[in-house]
């Protein structure tokens, strides 16, 4: 059952060969059995999931079902879920039960998908290794001494170990694509504004975007299709119809123009990664794609610009966690200032505090022009680079990460090295473009991914290219051996 695609599972459900309740029980039992080794869930919603499954079975029986009805999924604990704890993996929100559903939650509910539980993540989505969670690190199912990547590490690990067929994620600087690459699954971050941010707890508002994580591009297309769409409650949501991702999966890619940024393919690129990408390109050429070199001259400025913009926005977004109305409040505050200081000091972890401090500094009087304003200018240059590149090519291909998953603890005390693990993904967020990571091979027995970047609202094309690639390869079918 765990090797079946969402399409196959959906067909089985519609044909009543299996019930959603059976399917849900199956994945719940896998979570119970295997997740203690991964720590990929913060909350498992057993009873609620079974109730949703039975409801889905009624819809299936009555012919009121859609393609996702009855399909289980795991929800990143950054999306608000009415009546279920939404912690953002922070002590600050350990006691927070959202009184409302995120738009994404609502849409998946309406689609009839069954929420198995809420997945672990880096605290407030700040991290690239899933080690900053208040609930402890998530482990990579390919090697449990290694990180799964972050911040959507719980979702990635859960999908990789097939504890769920699908999972949601969010991506501010690579938080869907990087963990997808490091756990051997497919992850897509759509164009900024494609998926509503209403009810998705903010890290950096101008960069945050929800997306889909699944074994294959086809599976991800099912999930993204249900998540995407205009939402009047999110002013940055774009009022534009959602493409039919599934209908376009099989499109011919002969003549597709693939751009390779010369700035990524230098001698600094890991040799193993270079080889993986070469083989992937050979497959795509075999399908008729043309490859040419392009330039993203400001690529090297992406990480520094990001580490001004994202912390600046985060320092403001996280001001609401003050111990006054909800969330963590310290014991016996002496006065207001003491309450603020200790509630925030005790409620937030080290990485969150580091970013709040960086962001506060960057926005301070006298520094704003030199940091925040400059970073916004760099951001425009980066977006212009992509705009020019897309005049010549249809998609841009490169590595998702510099290399495979690193060991737990390896980079935790070295934030700059940690930040550089998102070096290939960050520019995409700064430009607001859609990006996808697909499994492309292994280095030393660990999965790595290739990243495809498309022009604005070209999600269908990215899924199409990845799907055609996956029809020729089986990297996305490989499963970590110890999680049968």
């Amino acid at each position: 059952m765990i090797d079946k695609s969402v399409r196959e599972l959906s067909e089985d459900l519609h044909a009543r060969r299996i019930s959603s309740e059976e399917l849900t029980r199956h994945f719940l039992s896998r979570i119970e059995r295997l997740d203690p080794r991964l720590n990929s869930f913060i909350t498992v919603c057993e009873e609620r999931a079974l109730a949703e499954a039975r409801e889905a079975d009624i819809r299936l029986a009555e012919g009121r079902a859609g393609p996702l009805t009855g399909i289980p999924y795991a929800h990143k604990d950054i999306f608000c879920t009415e009546g279920v704890k939404t912690s953002c993996a922070s002590r600050m929100l350990d006691n927070f039960v959202a009184p409302y559903d995120a738009t994404v939650t609502e849409k998946l509910k309406q689609a009839g998908a069954v929420m198995l539980g809420k997945t672990n993540m880096d605290e407030f989505a700040m991290g690239s290794s899933n080690e900053t969670s208040f609930y402890g690190p998530v482990r990579n199912p390919w090697d449990t001494e290694r990180v799964p990547g972050g911040s959507s590490g719980g979702s990635a690990a859960a999908v990789a170990a097939r504890l769920t067929p699908l999972a949601t994620g969010t991506d501010t600087g690579g938080s869907i694509r990087q963990p997808a690459a490091l756990t051997g699954i497919t992850g897509i971050k759509p164009t900024y504004g494609r998926v509503s941010r209403w009810g998705m707890i903010a890290f950096a508002s101008s960069l945050d975007q929800g997306g889909a994580m699944a074994p294959s591009a086809e599976d991800a297309a099912f999930l993204l299709g249900a998540m995407a769409g205009f939402d009047p409650r999110d002013s940055t949501s774009v009022d534009r119809p959602v493409d039919d991702y599934l209908a376009r999966l099989e499109d011919d890619i002969a003549g597709l123009k693939i751009g390779l940024p010369k700035e990524y393919f230098t001698e600094d690129l890991d040799a193993g990664m270079a080889k993986v990408l070469e083989e992937a390109l050979a497959v795509l050429r075999g399908l008729g794609a043309e490859v040419r070199e392009i330039s993203l001259p400001h690529a090297h400025l992406a990480v520094p610009a990001y580490y001004v913009v994202a912390p600046a926005e985060c320092s403001s977004n996280l001001s609401r966690y003050d111990g006054v109305r909800f969330g963590y409040r310290c014991e016996n505050p002496r006065d207001l200032e003491d309450m603020y200081k200790r509630s925030r000091g005790e409620g937030f972890g080290a990485e969150v505090k580091r970013r709040i401090m960086i962001g506060t500094y960057a926005l301070s009087a006298g520094y704003y022009d030199a940091y925040y304003l400059k970073a916004q200018q760099v951001r425009r240059l980066i977006a212009d680079d992509f705009r020019q590149a897309f005049e010549e090519v249809d998609v841009i291909l490169g590595p998702t990460t510099p290399g495979p998953a690193f060991r737990l603890g390896e980079k935790l005390d070295d934030p700059v090295t940690m930040y550089l693990s998102d070096i290939y993904t960050i520019a995409v967020n700064l430009a607001g473009l859609p990006g996808l990571s697909a499994p492309a091979g292994f280095i030393d027995g660990l999965p790595v991914g290739m990243q495809l970047v498309g022009n604005y609202f070209e999600e269908a094309r990215l899924l199409n290219v990845a799907h055609r690639y996956q029809q020729e390869t089986d990297w996305h079918r490989r499963r970590p051996p110890e999680f049968d």
Binding site: C88, G199, R233, E313, R320, L363, A365
Partner: protein, 478 residues
Amino acid sequence: MEWEAVIGLEIHAQLATKSKIFSGASTAYGAPPNTQACAIDLGLPGVLPVLNREAVRMAVKFGLATHSKINRRSVFARKNYFYPDLPKGYQISQYELPIVYDGWLDIELGEGETKRIGITRAHLEEDAGKSLHEDFQGMSGIDLNRAGTPLLEIVSEPDLRSAAEAVAYMKKLHALVRYLEICDGNMQEGSFRCDANVSVRRRGEHRFGTRTEIKNINSFRFVERAINYEIERQIEVLESGGAVVQETRLYDAARDETRSMRTKEEANDYRYFPDPDLLPVELDEAFIEEVRSTLPELPDDKRQRFIEEYGLPAYDAGVLTATREMADFYEAVARVCGEPKLAANWVMGDFSAMLNKENIEVGDAPVTAEALGQLLNRIRDNTISGKIAKEVFEAMWAGEGSADEIIETRGLRQITDTAAIEAMIREVIAANPKQVEQYRAGKEKLLGFFVGQVMKASKGKANPAEVNKLLKKLLSEG
């Protein structure tokens, strides 16, 4: 040494939208604490603001009415600071690109003199909640009903030179926002409040002195007193060789003084930056023209028209156009009775006196403009005298019916029958031989006495003009 005060005002006008500026919660005043605060107003994790279009429309309306420029692209920014009644830890405001800028307003200084006061900018922002420190024994209560209420912050140029000018400007703005129906102007409820920036300098000096800011003054009287106190205080500091400290001060109405709240050094660094949750507000010409078409006649234009169209003195025109309700009422009365000056006298006189006496607004008066106009018609067609009309008006106010009904039931119809008046005059002459003798001897002042006697005899119903005419005739006949 001659000193000159330099004053600029920042006025917060609460916009009269039904819902909040970034959420659908109601803005109605006076509901039980925290019953009008939704997830967005509470700043819950994951919520997002969506701009209330009506607030934008009102701000544009204000801009057009003050000859201001309207930014085709304005930007919401976050003003970051911690306070328990500020749910998100930042206030959404406008900073570098306000929606309205560079306008002006003329104020009247008396004796027909006017002064033009520059409006630097007016920007949209959300209000914070309220902290309640009294009722909770060592703790504070937070009421977030007000959080997210739309405000228009109107910043003047430092063009004001006295407390009196500041009050005149504030009153003018107050009338204007009510004319435009963008703010109810209720100062007790905090719908219209003022911060004053005050500095002094030696007359002739071009540079500004160090200023202080007096926060949250909520009445015209307090603005005048607070500014005057502050001017005196600063002059005293400077004349005794000290220096004014740039700081924020609070006006204590009970003690009639301002005192230091925080100095520049203690001031927050608000770390403004564009709010990434909101797109820039882009306005096109069509929208602006559409708003322009909804502009009512503005107070200054109306005043000028009253002078020209109704032939009113400037003073009367000013009083009658002070509020839109009063102006509308006056025009209705004038239309019904067809005599603008008579209508003006009555609206400014007896009618306004009753409003003041009962402390009510024009709209709540028990006498409608139509009814008052009908009463004035009875003066014009000599059915009653002006004096009797006052009695009728009071009865109308008390709810006794229309002017005609009251005149009828009380039998107040004026006596114009010459024979009847002559008869009364003859009786008065017969009853007062001594005064008649004096009058005939040249003491013509006594005519008033006779008029009074005749009017008394007629219970006020005799036509005074007729009485005068006949009295003179009969007294001189001898």
